[in-house]
């Protein structure tokens, strides 16, 4: 599991781990908790181009649907097959095995720090 304080965040309750020209993206524990038991995730195709801020996938629980936003503009480098097979990983390990996609990008938009995100969700 990544160190939450080292990650960056979006207002859409996603976390972003920057590693060179690639970001790893998942949803936060707060978002996973609000969604409830995740039963299905739909992720974009590897190799597809995504625009920052656009909806590129869905995270379904038994009672609601969350949208997956691309935090950066770029190309989907990898998707987490394990989470497609075992969607409960989003609940059990949102910052680790429950990661969703990796995107290669050229430019990083402004993101929230851990402190800023914590303030946003009131924790």
């Amino acid at each position: 599991m990544a160190d939450k304080t080292e990650l960056q965040y979006t207002a859409e309750h996603e976390w972003v781990l920057v590693d060179g020209d690639t970001v790893t993206v998942g949803i936060t524990a707060y978002a996973a908790d609000k969604l409830g038991d995740v039963v299905f995730v739909e992720l974009p195709a590897v190799g597809s181009d995504v625009a920052g801020g656009s909806v590129v996938g869905e995270i379904e629980s038994t009672k609601s649907v969350g949208e997956l936003f691309a935090p950066v503009t770029g190309t989907v480098a990898e998707t987490n097959d394990a989470v497609v097979d075992s969607p409960e990983l989003v609940n059990s390990d949102p910052f680790g095995a429950g990661w969703l996609i990796k995107v290669t990008y050229a430019e990083l938009p402004p993101l929230l720090s851990y402190a800023e995100y914590s303030a946003l969700v009131g924790e």
């Binding site: 299905f40 379904e60 629980s61 038994t62 009672k63 649907v65």
Partner: protein, 991 residues
């Protein structure tokens, strides 16, 4: 002199009401309601008191006698019209134990699966039957009818296809009502329909030349294709090549298939289809002049998440036992709103249960025998017609053939009708004839007689009958192999199976179902009486007008009465569910704007508190949803509304608002809201879901509504049937009436239009307030397969209004509002009531806020809902419209004893939650957390819990003699959605 029906329908008597009023501090029910309903919208502002056109209340006996008179004006002839509706034998054991059994028909949609295992099993039988017969992997738990199912199929292919095309290809040999529905629905969404004679294209026939389609492989670009199998003409042909060609260019295929034929011919799945749709009517459900019946839809593997409507799946309960529940609910409109797979919610559960049980009773061999007999009878018909010199043009057939008789078709159809048989007049030169389970040789003799072959019939050599099915399409695959379809052959076994399933469930025959926004009121026995009369059940929806005069009069009276009580000018009974009523109303608004040249008016404002169906319906009407915020009191935020109107003024089509609001409150500002919309050129759609709080006190049409749908299955006593049938009439002001749904095959296109008395100047009749208004043609496109939707259940609502009269309806409203306010008052100290309106009063329902309790104790809405089962109650509505709350609607039909029993259960449960908070019981081992408790859970093994067994299952002493035992523990929702299984599990699973 019998007691007035009003006193049977309303549960609280004068004594009880005065005790309830005392607690609320009001002198009379009228005073209470007048304090709750804003004075500016009350009916006496708009019409003279006592000006109702409703006849004075009839007694139960009088109502039945009047219905008898109406029924006698219908003529039930042998129907050989076909076109998707066939006479059938309802097994008496199913009629008595399901159709006429309140344990089945008074249940609600199985959102509380622990207390719904019986009908969930019945529905999974239905799904298994559909999946088996169609050769596809997953079927849903019913559609509204075949034609709407085809429309849903079209929409599914548009969602799931990778094709960028906007074209959908329609089989020229499709049912005419299906074509009309497709045209109406496609137009709203800008889908380009192309009709092609697919059978001819496939075989190189005449249609190929006519359409210019060179080959099957060259149908042009399209996202989906629809094949009727067998064709509406009766023709049986192999669509495999058409299906393959469509798929080769990225399209998905929808096949509408006849279930009885599928026992003998190759299934759509085996032919490569992606989606199969149709109706299960001929599996033991009376034609009923068009409905209700259960439509169906099945899809191949990989398309499950695209299914519209409800889907039953298998999960496990808290101790690992298999248990049924509704799966993948996030597809649906109540969660996904404008992004839902469909707007349908209530489907046709009762009828799906009947059709599934027809298959359980007959089994695969029995169904095949029935199909073979039907097919053989059709073969006999052909031989006899040929012997009479008739020109039978259908070479390959299952049960339907067409006969060419240039210029004589009408004459022959008339001659057959004189003899007591209705045939299908296709055109001036062509007659269609369909055989069904009930057709006898005597019927064939009558038909052949109409062709002038009365003498030759006696000489027909029936040994000459040849099979009409193409050998290449003979079905070889097995179906209905599950034991449930191979066990209940004796009536004793069937009766006990139905009883066992019914006993699993909690319906109104056990106790109160206080579901907010659902209006689970009495479905009186007298109201049900006429539904199974053959004069209402035995009529084909396209029977000649002369045969259905009683029905047309019934329809006219209901249209008149519903107009009167809602303040509208005209009503269409065609929509066969509330969702379809919404769609019809929005399409009427759309039609009106288009007629004014306002094509750009496409924005539909919807408050954030609205039911998700509103948004889903708006999308299907081609509109764009813009959400309006609600304020902290739960009312529409007027500032936000005005801001949104200002932004979208030129494009404003409508506002959809529910009244009283989904928060169960009479919004004070509704008049201002309506004016703001009208001032900007928009129309006001008032969702009638909560009409039970208004009848007799205020009318939508008076305070600004232009159009509404009503839920006859809520306010007007049609039972919920465990999740359908519903009826969702759409009522409109005169300026929208011309755009209400019409139907190309309707016996009469004239509908009641209130005269000038209603304030509108359109129509032929002069308004005099006596209900003798004029008539108007509803010229919009159809929204249901049948012209009058689901007419066979209309006698229920007719009887209700007839027996209540205007005064009785008003009394019912008063009793309902009184009950809700009484519950709110008594429970407020234990669970805060979230919203209230004028004078701190609620309407006919109240929302209890459990979020503070959850915060303080960890006890959730689910815990309270499931614990209510242990106390012998059906839970209130959970987390709608506000997450973390319970919404309670007691209705007028519950007596004070039952209401108090519920209130005391809720108070006791609150005390239990407090015991968890105080640490007396651990958060993860207490009666709430572990609810519901089965008998097994308190008997088996050592009892190690922190509370005792009596607390678990007998928290109240009165339960000892009358206990409802849930068959399963709390069901694991996530497991069911992650491991989707939507067919009958093997019996070993339950061992």
């Amino acid at each position: 002199m019998s007691q007035p029906f009003t006193q049977r329908h309303i549960g609280t008597d004068a004594d009880a009401q005065s005790r309830m009023l005392a607690i609320l501090g009001y002198d009379s029910v009228d005073a209470l309601v007048n304090a709750a309903v804003p004075g500016s919208i009350q009916v006496d502002q708009f019409r003279v008191l006592g000006d109702s056109t409703l006849p004075p209340a009839a007694t139960e006996r009088e109502a039945i006698a009047e219905l008898r008179t109406l029924a006698d004006r219908n003529t039930v002839k042998r129907s050989m019209i076909g076109q998707g509706y066939y006479d059938t034998v309802t097994p008496a054991v199913i009629k008595r134990n399901v159709f006429e059994n309140p344990s089945w028909y008074t249940a609600y949609t199985p959102y509380q699966p622990e207390i719904s295992q019986g009908r969930l099993e019945a529905l999974i039988n239905f799904q298994t039957m559909i999946a088996d017969l169609t050769g596809l992997s997953t079927a849903n738990a019913s559609m509204l009818d075949e034609s709407t199912a085809v429309v849903e199929g079209m929409l599914l292919t548009r969602r799931a296809s990778k094709s960028k095309s906007n074209r959908f290809i329609v089989d020229a040999d499709a049912l005419p009502q299906t074509k009309a529905l497709l045209a109406n629905r496609a137009a709203a969404l800008g889908i380009d329909l192309v009709e092609i004679a697919l059978a001819d294209v496939s075989t190189g026939g005449a249609g190929q030349v006519a359409t210019g389609a060179a080959t099957v492989a060259d149908l042009g670009e399209h996202f989906g294709i629809f094949v009727q199998y067998p064709g509406a003409s009766g023709r049986v042909w192999n669509p495999a090549a058409v299906i393959a060609a469509a798929q080769a260019q990225g399209a998905l295929t929808v096949v509408a298939a006849d279930l009885l034929a599928l026992t003998l011919i190759t299934s759509p799945g085996e032919l490569g289809a992606d989606v199969a749709v149709g109706t299960s009517q001929r599996f033991g459900v009376p034609m009923g002049f068009g409905g209700p019946h259960a439509g169906y839809m099945a899809v191949r593997q990989g398309l499950e998440r695209q299914l519209p409507g409800r889907l039953v799946g298998v999960s496990v309960d808290a101790v690992g036992h298999p248990a049924y529940r509704l799966s993948l609910q996030v597809r649906e409109q109540h969660i996904r709103r404008d992004k839902a797979t469909s707007n349908i919610c209530t489907a046709q559960v009762l009828l799906a249960v009947m059709a599934g049980m027809y298959a359980v009773y007959h089994g695969p061999d029995g169904l095949k025998t029935i199909a073979r007999q039907v097919h053989e009878r059709a073969g006999q018909l052909v031989v006899a017609l040929l012997a009479a010199g008739a020109d039978v043009v259908t070479a390959t057939f299952f049960d339907t053939v067409r006969v060419s008789s240039p210029g004589r078709a009408a004459e022959i159809v008339a001659a057959a009708a004189d003899g007591g048989v209705n045939l299908h007049l296709v055109d001036a030169d062509t007659i269609g004839i369909s055989v069904d389970e009930t057709t006898t040789l005597a019927d064939l003799a009558l038909v052949v007689g109409a062709f002038g072959g009365r003498e030759s019939f006696g000489l027909v050599n029936f040994s000459m009958v040849e099979a009409g099915l193409p050998p290449e399409l003979h079905r070889t695959s097995e179906f209905l192999t599950h034991p449930v379809f191979n066990t209940h052959r004796s009536e004793t076994s069937m009766m006990r199976y139905l009883k066992r399933l019914a006993d699993y469930d909690y319906a109104l025959d056990r106790g109160m179902i206080p579901l907010g926004s659902c209006t689970m009121k009495l479905n009186a026995a007298t109201e049900m009486e006429a539904v199974s009369w053959p004069e209402f059940g035995g009529l084909h929806p396209f029977a000649p007008r002369a045969d259905v005069e009683g029905y047309l009069e019934l329809v006219r009276q209901i249209e008149t009465w519903l107009s009167d009580v809602t303040g509208y000018d005209s009503v269409s009974l065609q929509p066969n569910a509330g969702s379809q009523g919404e769609l019809a109303g929005l399409l009427a608004i759309r039609g009106y704007h288009l007629s004014n040249g306002d094509a750009e008016r496409l924005v539909c404002l919807i408050p954030s508190s609205a039911h998700g169906t509103n948004a889903a319906s708006a999308v299907l009407a081609g509109m764009k949803v813009v959400v309006v915020a609600c304020d902290e009191l739960g009312n529409v935020d007027l500032d936000d509304l005005r801001a949104k109107i200002a932004v979208h003024a030129d494009n404003l089509a409508a506002l959809m608002i529910t009244y009283p609001s989904t928060h169960g409150v009479y919004e004070h500002e509704v008049g201002a809201i309506c004016r703001a919309v009208h001032d900007a050129g928009g129309q006001v759609y008032v969702d009638g879901a909560n009409l039970n709080a208004l009848l007799g006190f205020a009318r939508y049409g008076d305070f600004g509504g232009d159009v509404s749908h009503l839920n006859l299955h809520k306010t007007f006593c049609i039972p919920h049937g465990g999740g359908g049938p519903g009826v969702g009439p759409v009522a409109a002001k005169a300026h929208l009436a011309p755009f209400l749904p019409g139907h190309p095959l309707a016996q009469s296109d004239e509908h009641y239009l209130l005269g000038a008395g209603g304030g509108a100047g359109v129509g032929a009749g002069a308004g005099s307030g006596d209900g003798s208004g004029g008539t108007i043609v509803h010229a919009g496109g159809p929204v249901s397969a049948a012209p009058y939707g689901s007419p066979s259940i209309l006698p229920i609502s007719w009887a209700y209004v007839r027996m209540m009269g205007a005064e009785g309806l008003k009394e019912a409203t008063g009793a309902a509002v009184l009950a809700a306010n009484y519950v709110a008052k008594r429970l407020d100290a234990h669970f805060p009531v979230l919203y209230s309106g004028d004078n701190g009063l609620v309407a006919h329902e109240c929302i209890l806020d459990l979020r503070p309790l959850t915060e303080a104790t960890g006890v959730t809405v689910d815990d309270v809902a499931k614990r209510l089962v242990d106390y012998g109650f059906h839970a209130p509505t959970m987390s709608f419209p506000v997450s973390g709350t319970l919404m309670i609607e007691p209705t007028e039909s519950e007596d004070l004893g039952e209401i108090d029993r519920f209130v005391e259960a809720m108070i006791a449960i609150k005390a239990e939650a407090d015991a968890v908070a105080s640490g007396r019981w651990p958060a993860d081992d207490n009666p709430l957390h572990n609810a519901p408790h089965t008998a097994q859970s308190v008997i088996e093994g050592e009892w190690t819990h922190a509370y005792d067994r009596e607390t678990a299952v007998y928290p109240v002493r009165s339960l000892i003699r009358g206990k409802y035992w849930p068959p399963v523990r709390r069901i694991d929702n996530a497991f069911g959605d992650r491991n989707l299984v939507c067919a009958c599990p093997p019996p070993e699973a339950f061992e």
